[in-house]
């Protein structure tokens, strides 16, 4: 097991003392952890999954630095303030941690005069609210055709916002966590909070891995943020789980769209979108839907709506180009009113308990909002003395497929495993996979999110037996113990001939 994983307790039900406990290893939890690791604070982060960013973070369209949409983002909402304040922070953060970041701009499609009026209002608001940021521009139909030739012709123009960019939110979460760990944060994966009880000046947090005593709690539990808050009666807010569905297009049509393109169905707050990802695929999505929490299944209706959506924006797309789709949850306040506000607040009733939930757009707001969490902790009484030893920069796993010929040569010369291509769709080498495992990947999905092995058009058909073997070898476990995403998600339930020999062990 990698450092920090489970090992904090030594054995189960030992007690661990910490000053700040962060619950949740998504983009928000890891952002706070990293921000907090600048100070002399004893911090522990617990995450129920065995890796970072597997909740709402993973379900992101990967777009950041939006916020120019001032029909959605208004200065009376704190959420908007965090999104706007994060715009100048995002690129330096990604550069510092060596996470891919690409500024591509966004186009809001104008399909009729009613929409034109709406967007005029939006541009006026944006000019007023965001005077220091690069302004919007009107794009006429001819220009639009030139810059996005595959886009539907059924538009009268677009409003261009130069600020939006794409990144990789899961990799950003991992990079933040790695950096926090390097700066002293104790990280415990596969650790689920079961209950919280309140003492006079501390909390006793029962987890699946043992008891943790802490003075402060940052509740960044994503989809379970209200459940965690309710454990100590700090649930002074109501959030609704809404389901996001995202379809993925093959890289071979990866240049069919170059900007974040959005269109607005009639209901406020609803948006359909298509955008390239930083890795060269295209993502597209349908309006968010209120749904039962925890049901991560996608439905036939969602797929059909998704395909209809992408066809309405980019008519050339064929069903054959779709290589995957997935669903995830975003916690949404005031869903019934169609506008959304975040929860970034110290509990009014419970001292030293901070609720931290952005909902939409969580990744975009994370840099500024996590700084606000530090301010809240400090006003709740946490001593924040800066560490001199803080090391700000991180380094990504080498990306063989993106490397130049010269760099490729060097990588292979240094370590011949970089000459062994394991995932042929994304050209991921054994060297990258081994490095990902060294840094903490313990599962197939962990390797996938770090290296993209299995994310290509064959979706792991070719490489999964090979990745499973490398995981088993590097983690020194039997191959049938390798999981897709931790816990009971074992890939292979039996050894060959096991079912014929009578002595069959039921899978755990």
């Amino acid at each position: 097991m990698p450092e920090g994983d489970h090992s904090a307790f030594g054995e189960l039900n030992m007690k661990l003392d910490t000053e700040v406990l962060i619950i949740g290893g998504g983009i928000l939890g890891t952002s706070v952890a990293r921000e907090l690791s600048r100070y002399r604070v004893d911090t522990t982060l617990v995450e129920r999954e065995v890796d970072f960013g597997w909740g709402s973070t993973k379900a992101s369209a990967t777009v950041v630095c939006q916020g120019g949409d001032c029909l959605e983002f208004r200065k009376e909402y704190r959420n908007s303030r965090f999104v706007w304040d994060s715009i100048p922070l995002m690129e330096p953060l990604c550069r510092e941690l060596d996470v891919p970041f690409k500024r591509i701009g966004s186009l809001s499609l104008i399909r009729n005069n009613n929409e034109l009026v709406k967007y005029q209002k939006m541009k006026n608001l944006a000019d007023k609210y965001l005077p220091d940021l690069e302004p919007h521009q009107w794009i006429d139909r001819d220009t639009l055709r030139r810059i996005e030739p595959h886009l539907t012709r059924d538009v009268i123009g677009a409003l261009y916002d130069p600020k939006p960019a794409v990144t990789d939110p899961v990799r950003l979460s991992i990079a933040l966590a790695e950096n926090a760990r390097e700066n002293g944060t104790n990280i415990m994966l596969g650790t689920e909070v079961v209950s919280i009880s309140r003492g006079t000046d501390s909390f006793e947090v029962q987890t699946t891995e043992g008891l943790i005593r802490t003075r402060f709690i940052v509740n960044a539990a994503g989809v379970y943020v209200d459940k965690i808050a309710a454990m100590v009666d700090a649930d002074e807010f109501v959030v609704y789980p809404v389901k996001a569905w995202i379809g993925v297009l093959d890289k071979k049509v990866g240049d069919i769209i170059r900007h974040v393109v959005t269109a607005r169905p009639s209901r406020p707050g609803e948006l359909i979108f298509v955008n390239p990802t930083v890795h060269g695929n295209i993502f597209f999505g349908i309006p968010l839907q209120l749904n039962k929490r925890g049901d991560y299944s996608s439905t036939r209706r969602m797929s059909q709506a998704g395909f209809a959506t992408i066809r309405s924006l980019v008519p050339d797309v064929s069903e054959k180009d779709i290589i995957n789709s997935f669903a995830g949850y975003i916690m949404y306040r005031n869903y019934e009113l169609g506008w959304h506000e975040c929860v970034v607040a110290a509990s009014r009733k419970i001292p030293r308990f901070i609720n931290f939930c952005i909902g939409f757009p969580g990744v975009s707001a994370a840099p500024a909002a996590s700084k606000e969490v530090i301010r809240l902790l400090s006003s709740e009484g946490l001593q924040t003395v800066e560490k001199e030893s803080f090391k700000a920069s991180g380094r990504a796993i080498p990306d063989f497929s993106e490397a130049s010929d010269e760099e490729k040569k060097k990588l292979i010369q240094k370590d011949s495993r970089y000459g062994h291509v394991v995932c042929r769709c994304e050209t991921v080498t054994e060297g990258e996979i081994v490095e990902a495992i060294k840094r903490g990947a313990t599962t197939m999905d962990g390797v996938k999110y770090r290296t993209r092995a299995g994310m290509g058009r064959c979706q792991g058909g070719f490489c999964s037996p090979r990745v499973a073997r490398i995981l088993a070898r590097e983690l020194n476990v039997p191959e049938e113990q390798v999981t897709k995403k931790g816990k009971t998600s074992r890939l292979l339930l039996y050894k060959s001939k096991e079912l014929l020999e009578g002595a069959v062990n039921e899978p755990a």
């Binding site: 071979k252 991560y296 299944s297 996608s298 036939r300 969602m302 797929s303 779709i322 290589i323 995957n324 789709s325 997935f326 010929d405 490729k408 040569k409 292979i412 010369q413 011949s416 970089y418 000459g419 062994h420 291509v421 042929r424 769709c425 050209t427 080498t429 054994e430 197939m444 058009r457 064959c458 979706q459 792991g460 058909g461 070719f462 999964s464 037996p465 499973a468 073997r469 191959e479 049938e480 999981t483 897709k484 995403k485 931790g486 816990k487 009971t488 998600s489 074992r490 890939l491 292979l492 339930l493 039996y494 050894k495 060959s496 001939k497 096991e498 079912l499 014929l500 069959v504 899978p507």
Partner: protein, 419 residues
Amino acid sequence: MNLHEIDVAVIGSGPAGMAAAVRAKETGAKNVVILERAEELGGLLHQCVHNGFGLFYFHEDLTGPEYAHRFIEKTMDAGVRPMLETMALNISPDREITAVSNKNQFLKFRPESIVLAMGCRERSRGALNIPGTRPAGVFTAGTAQRFINVEGFLPGRQVVILGSGDIGMIMARRLTLEGARVEAVVEVLPYVGGLIRNEVQCLHDFDIPLFLKHTVTNIYGERRVEGVRVAEVDSRMNPIGGTERDIACDTLLLSVGLIPENELSLTAGVELDPVTGGPFVDGARQTTVPGIFAGGNVVHVHDLVDNVTWESEIAGESAARFAMGERIPAWAGIKLKAGRNIRYVVPHTISGNEDVTLYMRVREPEQNVRINVGDIAGKSELIVKPSSMLKIELTSEQLKKLGKNVTEVVIDCQKWGGK
């Protein structure tokens, strides 16, 4: 052999690659290499431990590994040089290959000609858009085949198979023999996707339930598959409400079609046929890029390995001729057009001067038909099915009947009254 003196480079060492390399050597090419990313020659044949290989080519019923073994010996005897654990990353339009290997490291070289023989890959769950959760336990049939026959593991013990392609049915039998229980094979079409031989010997022999006109409409299980929902479909393949049933299982295998593997071809600028998913090829199996040839499942998905071998031999021979200086006109000649109930015809063009074998597949099953090649040749069939490739051999004598100015010949499948 110096990398800069290579005449023919073959990409891939499955049945197609080995056949092309051997034939290139036999035709007279001096330096022939095969680039193979695995540790040994043979490609997917090693995981196909079942028999049915070589019935026509060797007139023997061989298993995949035996077929591989025969061709590995031929390859070595012919003096072909295998470059193992070597993966081609890129081919430029002027045939410069960029490859990596953990032995020879980073390579760039420009052979006189290239044969593409990368084979095909399976359609995945994502491509099918099956609703439901994303648990462990969903595999393509070929991936499961590798785990079971090569890696030494069984994915699970209670299995549902979606799709009745050949690999899916063969895996139904393999899993049953290994002690797992195959609950159902589910096929969306009203007929089986694979060969009749496999339907009888893999499903009927073991009383494995087959649901035609059904599909999987949901997958259950958060971490590991716990079951699937199956429903009947209407003529437009939409699930019919009220026909759903849940089947408990720990594994779902997908056998829903194969796609030629042409990412490398695209880097060279080779044009692909959207119907076959493979390169447009002429009778010599030359692609739209001069000096780049293709054979086997990279061109179109075959039903039998024997046909893969024969087709690739053409590609290998042409590549050798090209390497030895013969200029094969780039993708010109008489165009073959798929007519009524013909999904595609390979090759896409023919010279009209040489004997040629046409390979084709129909769109729909049909009985009592006649396949017409323009008005110069024809062949009657009691039954045609999409799962079985059709072959028509044309002699240069027959082709002469086309006349000089013909630029296109339509091949169609016509209903035929019979007697």
